[in-house]
């Protein structure tokens, strides 16, 4: 019945025909790509083009003012020969290797116990989440003042009041890195706890009930049920917090802003070195080479972690 009621279609067979001739599934694909094109285009322009550009720049010499000139592998050679770079490289991994496991263990312990607490559960959870919502800059400055010497430093004032000699927190090549890492871990804790709690809630109750009936110890429950079933959550947190610690910047920069990454480069992470090379020395090519190295590190670390923690 509706077969010959197509006067408009017959008038423009060439134009509307192409789309009209597609099957429903094909039309759906066209629309899907149409919508996807927007974020893809956005990503290409905002992310991929600058990334590619930075990689090209790492083989060039540029001070922002003049023309870019080719430098071959010069920037990478300088990098390998630069003792500061290796110090910074070690620092970056110190942040990663200390920060990730410590924050993982603490956040799991808190989440595990918080999960069993009913009294004031929401309030306690909110308190743990609060630092995550606080500005990193404000927090870094408050901690910076906590760490000062007498008469303004909170910790040293407490030590001095009970007659213990002062501790140099930030003005020490050994203490400064852990002192900066501590608030950084604390700041990220809230987020990790929330993710862990969601993971814990997702484990079916029936497993625990079965274990209870079998009379299994709580250690066994933890090792045999909770942790294995939390694997996807742990993978997610490890990857995310590793990337976070590898890219640590705001805490370090704000707590050591008079001597960024100091004393004697002992707290300088790679991102801070990149920032200084680019925006205080205006050596864009060298900064780009450091960025490429950071990119490779992030890629390798993430791939290794995904592989190690993958579901077998």
């Amino acid at each position: 019945m509706p077969t010959d009621t197509t006067p408009t279609g017959s008038q423009t067979p060439g134009r509307g025909g192409l789309y009209a001739r597609l099957s429903v599934a094909q039309k759906r694909t066209v629309w899907a790509w149409g919508f996807l094109a927007v974020p893809i285009l956005f990503y290409v322009v905002i992310r991929f083009y600058p990334t590619g550009n930075a990689m090209v720049l790492s083989f060039q010499e540029w001070n922002l003012l003049g023309d870019r000139t080719w430098a071959g592998l010069d920037n990478y050679r300088t990098l390998v020969a630069d003792p500061v770079f290796w110090q910074v490289f070690r620092n970056t991994f110190a942040y990663l290797l200390l920060g990730t496991p410590i924050s993982l263990v603490i956040s799991f312990v808190i989440a595990y116990h918080l999960d069993q607490v009913r009294f004031l559960h929401g309030t306690i959870r909110a308190l743990y989440f609060l630092p995550f919502m606080t500005s990193a800059v404000a927090m870094a400055w408050v901690w910076r003042w906590f760490y000062q010497d007498v008469p303004i430093g909170l910790f040293n004032n407490m030590l001095a009041s009970v007659g213990i000699p002062q501790i140099s927190f930030l003005r020490s090549t050994t203490n400064a890195l852990p002192a900066i890492l501590a608030p950084a871990i604390w700041a990220g804790l809230g987020f990790q706890i929330i993710i862990f709690m969601a993971g814990l809630r997702a484990i079916p109750r029936s497993f625990y009930e079965a274990a209870k009936i079998d009379g299994v110890s709580s250690w066994t429950v933890l090792w045999e049920i909770t942790l294995p079933l939390l694997r996807p959550t742990i993978v997610f947190i490890v990857v995310l917090s590793s990337i976070g610690f590898l890219r640590i910047f705001d805490h370090v920069f704000n707590m050591t802003s008079a001597d960024p990454g100091g004393p004697l480069n002992s707290t300088k992470p790679l991102v801070l070195m990149i920032y200084q090379t680019a925006f205080s020395s205006y050596d864009m090519g060298y900064a780009a080479a450091q960025t490429v190295v950071l990119f490779v590190i992030l890629l390798v670390v993430s791939l290794i972690q995904l592989r190690l923690l993958r579901d077998r």
């Binding site: 010499e61 001070n63 922002l64 003012l65 003049g66 910076r144 003042w145 000062q148 010497d149 007498v150 008469p151 303004i152 040293n156 001095a160 007659g163 000699p165 002062q166 003005r171 020490s172 090549t173 008079a258 001597d259 100091g262 004393p263 004697l264 200084q276 925006f279 205080s280 020395s281 205006y282």
Partner: protein, 420 residues
Amino acid sequence: MMNRRIRTPLAALATSAAALAFAPGAQAQQVTIEYWQYFFESRVTAMEQLIANFEAANPDINVEMTHFPYADYRTRTAVAIPAGEGPDVVQLFYGWLNDYIAEGLIQPLPADPFSAEMIGSEFFPMVQAMQVDGSYYALPTAVRSLALFYNERLLEAAGVEVPTTLEELVAAAAATTERDGAGNVTQVGLTTGMTAQDHHWFREVLIRQFGGEPYLDNYRTVNYDTEAGRAALDFYLGLEEQGVTSTGFMDEPQAAFRAGRAAFHIDGSFRIGALQDSRGLQWGVTELPAGPDGTRSNYASYWVNAITSSAEGAEYEAAVRFMEYITSPEAMEIWLEVVGELPARVDVGMTPENADDPVFGPFIRGLEYANTTIFADESAQRQVMVDMVERVRLQGMDPGESLTAAATAEQAILDSYYNQ
């Protein structure tokens, strides 16, 4: 003071508004030039006033000012000017000028009215650092120098006089340092910190006072790994060893001084404004103390105005006239009054009223013997000084060895910059 600060710009704005209202009908040929500087409230206020005066005197020229936050300023200008999107007249830190000259982004100032003889005789001597191959590329409206701030109450309480030599400074600082029962410093005599202004004090003042010459070859060769350099470093490190200072005390030297926990503090003239706003702090300021043989020295820095390569034809002519006005004695008087920065011309600075001013006087008198370091990379070169002291303090390195390492590191920075 407060009233005058507000009233003058308002009056100037009113007259210029009136001038502008009548201008369009009379003047067919309007030229608009653009001026850039970073945002600092009093600098913007002063410049608005200068622009208003200039436009009133030159009705055919329009000046549009754009300002950016300080944190972005260097990057923004460095991106915009090569792209041809920049201003016609721009304010730059003197230390950035080499790069702009090398890339041909700013034009030399025309010999008329900016002849080398005129600038050489009328401006304070350190402005000569802006001369490259016989022509001047930029000129400051105002300059900054260092001086010794002191807390009047603490000096009075300890019964010490304002020091005039390094020896007197150390003695006075010792008398004003206070400690708690455990020996922790609770009030410092003298604030120190290479991260603040001390690296300038060390380079241009202490090394010279101990008989040295910090750099040779127009600041391209490091020359402080010498006996004089060593003596200066020993003096500097000795301050902490003698217990008259504590590096990093209260985080920042200026914070300690503002909080009234430091008797002496070396800082630049740009600190005056902040100190004037500190309630309850009674402070004075004096020239930097003289060295063992009476040598005085100082470090001066400045922001300069330059004409960029994008100003051509009528805009160039207008830019030259604008430059002439903002480096005139009148502009410097306004700048001193509104911003509190020191005039770059000797005859404006050294008037009896200014040179004997209790606050500006010590800074202005310091300009007569001030030196200006020509930096290749100021923050990297500052870091060298910071690390030199930290190696001795935190790692127990021999001072002589640390001095040699610093000289080598700084020479490497200079070499890589000048051999590019």
